[in-house]
Amino acid sequence: MRRGFWLRYLGRRLLAAVLALFGVAVIVFVVTRLLGDPVELILGQRATPEQAAQLRAKLGYDDPLPQQFVRYIGDLVQGDLGVSNYTQRAVTDEIADRFPATLELALAGMFLGLLWTIPLGVLAAQRPGGWVDRVSRAIAEFGLAIPNFFFGLLLILLFAYVLGWAPAPVGELDIGATPPPRVTGMVVVDALLAGDLSTFSSALKYLALPAITLAVTSCPPILALTRTSMITALRGDYVRSARAFGLPQRTVRWYALKNSLVPVLTMSAMTFGFLVGNTVLVETVFSWPGVGLYSVQSMQRFDYAPVLGVVLLGSAIYILVYLLADLISMAIDPRVREGQT
């Protein structure tokens, strides 16, 4: 592809992403400033009217809305997400400390999720209605139906309490254990980088259950889509024609797989973006020190600035990952490249 085309297309897609994020910011502004009362947000219900009026003036909430909006966007652009009432630290820093933990969990959950959904989806498509198909659909339906936090509790009950294979859900490492030197902020990765195998294996043990929870409860849509797009591909004209030209079964299957990859990829990206937002409950169950737990704790402490910060972060990740999937599917499918579909 000509270099110029790629850069122009990338530029356009990035602009669309930024606009989408701006849209999210607008929604957050509308919900928090217009629908709710921002001062009550910050001071909580116990504030006296005088305190409220004084704060309203100080923070400029009496200014006309457009002016407030410009200031709000200005802060956002500089990465200023406000200050946490509880810890008086900048929300940006608080999030920066905790985000790697969420990312690590999301990546692990996604990795395990893809590991079981895509192969099963492909196998189920070989013989629709066969036992593999029925079993995988039953698992998928179960994974979709069961609330992830409840599934997490069941895993803890079985593996931690009954079998004792997994540690109690206290976080990323044993209480009191010294975390590895912080490089990426992801304990498992940092432990590996520091070559500290015992911490690495312990961190893995802590990561296992929450990651499995996400893999089982968030990824079934990927299995469903892999199955349907593989079935459509296998019944496609070009697969029949490939068979009619005597191409070996594995080539035929590769044709079908590659063609069903594009929709599966988009769905996986959406699931990952979705997963990051979805860790709120799983982190709560496993006391996993990520932005999800942080947003819940902030809610319980009526400390709302962090919550809005995490909302923007979660949306930004969703939009970014969606863009990534778009670019990858562009590389795979020429029709997407030329805006045909």
Partner: protein, 332 residues
């Protein structure tokens, strides 16, 4: 595919000494075993070496299903219950999959109706054709690519080396059909099956594509099995015509015999519809039967003016009433 072993040659085999392909008593069905729906009730066919055989039939006649049966690529849930398909001395219905794969694309190739849909949208057309070539001939990548470009050029695609690197959705109907023909001829097969190759194309484009098929198949010396619902296309391209209706062969013979002195009332009706007498509107009354709704008798009985109780009771056997001219009808 386990099919009842009937080694008998097709009754039509007499049309040439040792025809390249002959089908006898082919029955294809779908639906549950206990209540099967017959898509092909009794298909006979014979294709002499290097000949041009046209299979003409309306919707539901099973003409495309016959092509799938020959290549052994029947869709899921559809199976050949009985009958033999002898190709170059071998019964395709009993060949092991590995050997059958060598024949598909190597000795019998297929040009399907919607060329763009029959090509992998994620691969360049050149790569796909070269892949088929290498699969059957084992030549090097460069050699396969060279043959591909050369064949695309011979089939009238401008700037073949550039177009070979573009994707299926870049091709218009007419050009895409040329790509499909190239893929079918790249391994110089003995038989080319063209399943409705120009249906859906505008008349001017259809004429161009038919000319390309005519020239290229003649040059390769392969036999042609042309399947179409349009009698005019079959008349223009073929020297032998087989008329099928609701899964059964009704008439088979040399083109000028079948088209000028048709024996089956159905063929007579079709010809009248194709070339209606001046100022007249020709048609065949009644409705095209749905698969599985036919009784024991002749499938056309319900719409045939000359139908008698005998026609409704029992399907007429194929009888040879003229040299190389067979018909399935009680009344001739």
């Amino acid at each position: 595919m386990s099919v009842a072993q009937t080694q008998s040659r097709s009754v039509l085999a007499g049309i040439a000494d040792d025809p390249l392909l002959d089908i006898s008593g082919l029955v294809v069905e779908t639906g549950p075993q206990r209540a099967p729906v017959e898509l092909l009730r009794s298909i006979e066919l014979a294709i002499p070496r290097g000949a041009r055989v046209g299979v003409v039939g309306e919707s539901g006649s099973g003409k495309s299903m016959t092509a799938s049966a020959i290549l052994g690529v029947l869709p899921d849930g559809v199976r050949a219950r009985s009958g033999t398909i002898r190709f170059d001395g071998r019964d395709l219905t009993t060949l092991p999959e590995r050997e059958m794969r060598r024949i598909r694309g190597g000795e019998i190739s297929l040009v399907s109706q919607n060329a763009v849909a029959s090509l992998n949208p994620l691969m360049t057309v050149g790569a796909q054709i070269a892949k088929v070539c290498r699969e059957h001939t084992g030549v090097s990548k460069q050699e396969a690519w060279a043959r591909t470009v050369e064949l695309l050029d011979a089939l009238g695609i401008p700037e073949p080396d550039v177009r070979a690197r573009s994707y299926p959705h870049h091709f218009s109907g007419g050009m895409a059909q040329r790509v499909a023909i190239a893929m079918a001829l790249i391994c110089s097969p003995q038989l080319v099956i063209a399943d409705e190759p120009t249906t859906g194309l505008d008349a001017t484009i259809q004429a161009q594509v038919l000319e390309v098929i005519d020239g290229s198949v003649k040059a390769s010396g392969a036999a042609l099995l042309l399947i179409s619902h349009d009698l005019a296309v079959v008349r223009a391209m073929c020297d032998i015509v087989a008329v099928v209706y609701a899964g059964s062969l009704l008439e088979y013979g040399p083109a000028d015999e079948v088209l000028n002195r048709p024996l089956s009332p159905y063929t007579q009706g079709l010809i009248r519809c194709m070339d209606p007498p001046e100022g007249e509107i020709a048609f065949i009354p009644g409705r095209i039967p749905e698969p599985g709704t036919l009784g024991a008798g002749c499938p056309f009985a319900e719409r045939c003016e000359q139908a008698t109780d005998a026609c409704r009771a029992q399907q007429p056997a194929l009888r040879q009433l003229r040299p190389d001219h067979w018909v399935s009808c009680h009344h001739e």
